[in-house]
Amino acid sequence: MPSCREITELLTDYAEGRLGLVHWLRLQLHLGMCSPCRAYLRQLRATAGALGKLPSPEVPADLQAELMRRFEGWKDRR
């Protein structure tokens, strides 16, 4: 039987859908009986999910202005 420690090391591959069948089955079996590992998996998923909801950083106004200035230079050279 894999230990909780080994199971947690597999949870990202599991969440990414990259686990082979044998590991996948062992993991299912373990998760079915182990609530701390289930909590760990939920939290890993919540973590990854929250990262996907972070707002994009703003492009600072001076960088934006500089880029537009460079654009004009590029256009003139063409």
Partner: protein, 214 residues
């Protein structure tokens, strides 16, 4: 051929590229509005320092303009732009002498890191200090909380470089694993180890935050 939504987006992108080639200023502004924040985030993830990241992004946008005639539309424009930024950022790291090549940072041990939760288990690998309950597990609400968001962003900033780049591309920007491997010159196996380590560390930071400093 992808689903209609993708085809629509691709057609829209082709039109934008055509306008850019014709020297349409608004097309460039639209492109910056659409991808500028993500590119800045990627550059920051690789070079860490914000002002270097802005320089990298500036160089990358200029390179994109110079190279736009050669853009063939085989990859999405976003992927093409990400590739330019990733290359420029890594060149920058090398030039500043701050870095062994990026690939050397990507061994599973990452030079400076071990499994972040290793002290939570006993000698048999059973939980000794199991994960605490979180006051919130909904991703949307986690990302909305100002303090939680700050804790997440701090945790990402503190990651080793390769982990930071991988988690930014995979979880923050939502790129496929294969794309990330080609952007960062990683093997599939390394990419997954780096992703796991990074998620585990950010999870740990969130746990500390959400369990009220256990």
């Amino acid at each position: 051929m992808g689903p209609p939504a993708y085809q629509g987006a691709a057609a829209d992108e082709r039109a934008l590229v055509a306008r850019l080639r014709a020297g349409d200023r608004q097309a460039f502004a639209d492109l910056i509005a659409r991808h500028g924040g993500s590119l800045l985030r990627l550059a920051t993830a690789i070079v860490r320092n914000r002002s270097s990241a802005e320089e990298v992004v500036q160089e990358a946008w200029l390179a994109a303009l110079e190279g736009i005639d050669g853009f063939e539309g085989r990859a999405a424009l976003r992927t093409w732009l990400f590739q330019i930024v990733a290359n420029k950022a890594r060149t920058r790291l090398r030039r500043d002498g701050r870095s062994v090549p990026f690939s050397a940072l990507s061994s599973p041990d990452d030079g400076e890191d071990h499994a972040p939760d290793s002290d939570r288990f006993d000698g048999n690998g059973a939980w000794k200090d199991p994960p605490g309950r979180w006051s919130e597990e909904d991703p949307e609400r986690l990302a909305q909380g100002v303090e939680t968001r700050a804790a997440i962003e701090r945790a990402i900033a503190d990651l080793p470089a390769a982990q930071r780049a991988v988690i930014t591309l995979r979880d923050v920007e939502g790129l496929e694993a294969e794309e990330i491997c080609s952007l960062l010159d990683l093997t599939v196996a390394n990419q997954r180890v780096l992703l796991h380590r990074a998620r585990a560390r950010v999870r740990l930071a969130l746990e500390k935050h959400l369990a009220g400093g256990r």
